[in-house]
């Protein structure tokens, strides 16, 4: 399946019918720019098609809301990509879809276009929660959409869910999980609600009109989710991601986490190759304008130092069950002692020369990388 050496391709569809109050991805609700955006994608693909000669073995159409694209728009996008790049025979082709947008004909179109994996943004099956999240669909609509997916040819579909918001009960969350499992998804992404500054929810938090869940509540939800899904045969292979088997891991996302090369097309998309990262401007208009002027729509770039490479390996590694290569950890003084401490306190485990987070490790994954960046002075006490 996934070949770490082959690159992945990402296309950002920066359009949504409505904005969700928790989302801080870039998207706009004005569909009139879709044509210009497609023209932009076409130009951008032409810029990169000579630089990215090896075949991609994943394609991920994300957003935004990619399912906002009609058959024509999506068809044109796929044509552009196929004309510009080559893809491995069994390429994983994913599209993010909103339950509201799913119809039998749309699904047939996806299949015809070679899309073989759906990521369905269900978020919740509790009506009250869906209203709180200001989603377009209802639980009933989601059930209906899944019914269509099941009766279509798609076997590899994943469901995105959100949990851990203030007021949510363990009972309602478990109910959502149980109903979703009854659909037989191959993959689940369960994201704890993040209240970021700059989003409407973030502003509500600072105004005091929205409460955060307590850290303890979040912890319990996280553990419960993992236990529940593992009991139902899922592998908790990344902090927020679960799969029915290794063959259902999101190959595309693995590229991010394993620092495989990827090319991102579209406004705000990120790319990575040979320890260089670059990212496009976020504004659709700027993106289109720059491409019309024959320029790359790049807003920023960086070349990673060995220290940064190491930090990335740890920060990404500790978010996945695969963990971090032992050799990348013990190359620094004191890290052996840190590792021993974390192992004995059940935060990580060491197997086959890899250090992987336990469930408790996942819970503090943001803290783990720096624990292995001890400065000499920082551990001065160890000398005594």
């Amino acid at each position: 399946m996934n070949n770490k050496d082959l690159p992945g391709l990402y296309v950002h569809v920066p359009f949504c019918k409505t904005k969700c109050p928790y989302c801080d991805f870039y998207s706009i609700t004005d569909p009139s720019l879709i044509q210009s955006w497609l023209d932009g994608i076409e130009k951008e693909a032409l810029i990169y098609n000579r630089e990215w000669l090896p075949a991609f073995d994943t394609l991920y159409i994300g957003g935004g809301t990619p399912s906002i694209l009609d058959e024509y728009g999506l068809g044109r996008l796929m044509d552009i990509l196929r004309n510009s790049f080559s893809f491995a025979p069994d390429t994983e082709v994913t599209i993010e879809v909103n339950p509201d947008d799913i119809t039998a004909s749309r699904l047939a179109c996806y299949e015809a276009l070679g899309i073989n994996r759906l990521s369905i943004g269900v978020q919740s099956l509790q009506e009250a929660e869906l209203r709180f999240l200001q989603r377009r669909h209802t639980a009933i609509a989601a059930e209906r959409a899944i019914g269509l997916v099941q009766s279509s040819g798609f076997r590899n579909f994943g469901v995105d869910l959100m949990y851990g918001f203030h007021g949510q009960t363990r009972k309602s969350w478990t109910d959502t999980l149980e109903r979703v499992l009854s659909w037989g998804p191959a993959h689940l992404s369960c994201y704890q609600l993040t209240l970021s500054d700059g989003t409407p929810f973030g502003r509500m938090v600072s105004e005091g009109t929205l409460k955060r869940a307590t850290e303890e509540q979040e912890r319990q939800f996280f553990i419960h989710t993992s236990h529940f899904l593992q009991d139902h045969g899922f592998i908790h292979y990344e902090v927020s991601n679960f799969a029915k088997g290794e063959e259902y891991f999101s190959c595309h996302n693995l590229k991010y986490w394993q620092r495989a090369p990827y090319l991102g097309l579209g406004p705000g998309a990120h790319s990575f190759r040979d320890n260089a990262r670059w990212w496009n401007c976020r504004s659709v208009r700027d993106y289109c304008r720059l491409l019309l002027e024959g320029k790359r729509p790049v807003a920023g770039q960086e070349r990673l130092s060995p220290e940064q490479v190491r930090l990335e390996m740890l920060l990404l590694g500790f978010r996945t069950a695969r963990g971090v290569d032992m050799d990348d950890i013990v190359d620094q003084p004191f890290n052996g002692e840190v590792l021993a401490r974390l192992t004995s306190s059940g935060i990580v485990r060491v197997e086959e020369n890899r250090v992987s987070p336990t469930l408790n490790g996942y819970l503090i994954a943001d803290r783990l990388p720096l624990m292995f960046f001890s400065l000499i002075s920082f551990f001065i006490k160890v000398f005594y």
């Binding site: 990402y10 991805f25 994300g62 994201y191 704890q192 609600l193 993040t194 850290e215 303890e216 979040e218 912890r219 996280f222 902090v239 927020s240 991010y256 986490w257 990827y262 991102g264 998309a269 990120h270 790319s271 990575f272 990262r277 990212w279 960086e302 940064q308 930090l311 990335e312 920060l315 990404l316 978010r319 401490r341 306190s345 935060i347 996942y362 819970l363 503090i364 994954a365 943001d366 803290r367 990388p369 720096l370 960046f373 001890s374 400065l375 000499i376 002075s377 920082f378 551990f379 001065i380 006490k381 160890v382 005594y384």
Partner: protein, 598 residues
């Protein structure tokens, strides 16, 4: 032949000393308008920012009076803080007169009195100057009354002035030339010159500022410093305009500088007498004393591999500040560092700030301590300024701490609050004195340790800025002292230990534990912070463990954002120290120093 006057300006802080000096300098056209900037004598950034004079400077003002007589007016600037009172006294010893500056709205304050007494000790002609008469709240009549009643000076002799607006400046020049006597002294007698200051110049070594009482000194002379007998060959002499101005000789009565290949300012002693090696003065000038530090604290580099760089910074700093003393120190918690002695808390802050700003050092300082005396059962007496060297309590027969006599001048309505503050700080032997209606001079004996932290800030806040304060160290008194240790997860953090009076130990322990609780970031286990005397726990607080710290989404392909967050945290970690398995940030050490909860 020019006429010489040597004078100084003395004032309570903020009464406008630097502004008046600026005005006098401008009046003599020594600097053109282009070069002029405010607080011209305060050359250090920190002096300008804080509006204080740290290092005194001297300037020779050329002046011609209405009769065409030419004068050399030597303005000997003095540092304006009680920490530097010895330097002030040596500067005053070099003068024949002073301008005693009083703010027209604030009136006489504690330091005005202290300054007056200092000037009187040297038999100086005192010219009262009421400054800031332009202020709408100026109350000249009241201030005159205070000058009469509190200072015992003739209020009619006071000059009205607004240094800011330049009014009264001519009257001041007239008073300096008319009322202050010319210096006495015999140029033919053996050389006798008082060192009142020393500066370091990277190209010339130490520039000694001195006042010649008798004799003459010329380049080529061999001079001798009378306190230690060291000799140097004079390379250059001169006077201070805004820059140094070379002269053929300095003679009796003059104020100027001597450059004599003296490497560091620490090789000179303020208050020492310079004489000629070949024809020495029979006795040194009176009043010399070794300046002793009164406040002690340890300085550690935040990253222990910066020890060498800190050492070099201290060496360089010391070139220009003889009053800082330091020696090697080491702490189990903080590694290698330096134990330093300071003239007072302001001096400590100045050193800290200059090390960080001018020498780019990242440092942790431990809680300031005074020098305690312990009389042991075997009769030995040991002096301890570092809690690390607190003796075995079983062997202590008696312990003593330094006391000060504090003089606080406040409007009557604040007396109650001031009394309470002093009593809270273990003050004893209070006296109230009513020099003018509505104003009270409160005197108290207080332990020095109680005032070195935040006493002055506290006083200012409870008196809404009207209280002023001056003190002198008087004696050592018996005191029930204990060492308060701070434990983090059972491990003693030696750098946080303090010596404290037994009655104050619990309060301090509770405060420090609470402060640390706020400063120490949560870790994946619970952290107990305890205050203990001997083995006995007297205070504790707990930092709860963090149970979850993970972002749900790794933002698609945007790894940069996540990594940058961690890089920022990683930078912060450089400012942390590990004690056992607990990360303690630099800020925690700082916070623990602050004593008050309020």
């Amino acid at each position: 032949m020019k006429h010489i006057r040597n004078f100084s300006i003395i004032a309570h802080i903020d009464h406008g000393k630097s502004t008046l000096a600026d005005r006098l300098i401008q009046y003599t056209n020594l600097v053109d308008e282009r070069q002029f900037r405010d607080q011209i004598l305060d050359t250090m950034d920190i002096e300008r920012e804080r509006g204080i004079t740290i290092k005194s400077q001297t300037i020779d003002l050329p002046y011609m009076d209405n009769d065409g007589r030419e004068f050399e007016l030597n303005l000997i600037d003095t540092p304006g803080h009680v920490d530097f009172s010895y330097e002030v006294s040596r500067a005053l010893a070099s003068c024949e007169g002073v301008l005693l500056l009083v703010d027209a709205s604030q009136g006489v304050e504690a330091q005005t009195l202290a300054n007056l007494y200092a000037a009187m000790e040297h038999d100086l002609v005192i010219i009262p100057v009421i400054n800031k008469i332009d202020l709408p709240v100026a109350d000249i009549e009241r201030v005159k009354l205070e000058i009469d009643h509190e200072l015992g000076l003739d209020p009619d002799s006071a000059i009205l002035c607004s240094a800011k607006e330049g009014t009264g400046i001519e009257d001041i020049f007239a008073a300096i030339t008319g009322r202050i006597p010319p210096p006495a002294g015999d140029p033919e007698k053996p050389l006798s010159a008082l060192i009142f200051d020393a500066h370091y110049d990277p190209f010339r070594g130490t520039i000694v500022s001195c006042r010649l009482f008798d004799g003459t000194v010329r380049p080529g002379d061999m001079i001798r410093l009378m306190s230690n007998g060291t000799t140097y060959k004079v390379e250059e002499v001169g006077i201070f305009h805004l820059a140094r101005e070379q002269r053929k000789e300095l003679t009796a009565g003059m104020v100027g500088y001597i450059i004599a290949g003296i490497k560091t300012v620490s090789d000179t002693r303020i208050g020492d007498t310079i004489t000629l090696d070949a024809n020495p003065a029979p006795a040194p000038l009176p009043g010399f004393k070794e300046v002793k530090p009164v406040v002690f604290s340890s300085i550690y580099p935040i990253a222990s591999d910066d020890y060498q760089s800190l050492l070099e910074a201290l060496e360089k700093y010391k070139l220009n500040d003889a009053s800082l003393i330091y020696q090697k120190d080491s702490s189990a918690a903080l590694g290698q560092g330096f134990r330093c002695g300071f003239l007072g808390l302001l001096h400590l802050e100045i050193v800290q700030e200059r090390l960080e700003r001018e020498f780019d050092q990242s440092i942790i300082m431990t809680a300031p301590s005074v020098q305690y005396r312990f009389i042991l059962t075997d009769g030995d007496v040991i002096v301890v300024d570092n809690p690390l060297y607190y003796p075995d309590p079983a062997k202590i027969k008696a312990s003593e701490e330094p006391f000060i006599r504090a003089a606080i001048l406040v409007p009557e309505r604040y007396v109650g609050a001031v009394m309470k503050l002093c009593m809270d700080r273990r003050g004893v032997n209070s006296h109230l004195n009513y020099p003018t209606p509505g104003r009270v001079e409160v005197t108290f004996d207080l332990p020095l340790a109680e005032i070195i932290f935040d006493f002055y800030d506290k006083l200012k806040s409870i008196t809404q800025g009207y209280g002023s304060f001056d003190y002198e160290i008087t004696d050592y008194r018996e005191s029930d002292l204990v060492r308060l240790d701070i434990l983090v997860n059972g491990e003693k953090v030696d750098a946080l230990s303090i010596l404290v009076h037994r009655d104050r130990a619990r309060d301090r322990a509770v405060t420090i534990c609470e402060r640390l609780k706020e400063e120490i970031p949560r870790q994946q286990f619970k952290i107990a912070i305890q205050g203990a005397i001997g083995g006995k726990i007297i205070a504790r607080s707990t930092v709860s463990a963090f149970r979850k710290d993970v972002t749900a989404k790794c933002y698609g392909g945007d790894i940069t954002r996540k990594r940058k967050l961690l890089e920022k945290q990683k930078k912060g970690k450089r400012r942390m120290r590990m004690v056992g398995n607990v990360e303690i940030p630099q800020s925690a050490f700082m916070a623990a120093l602050k004593t008050d909860n309020e």
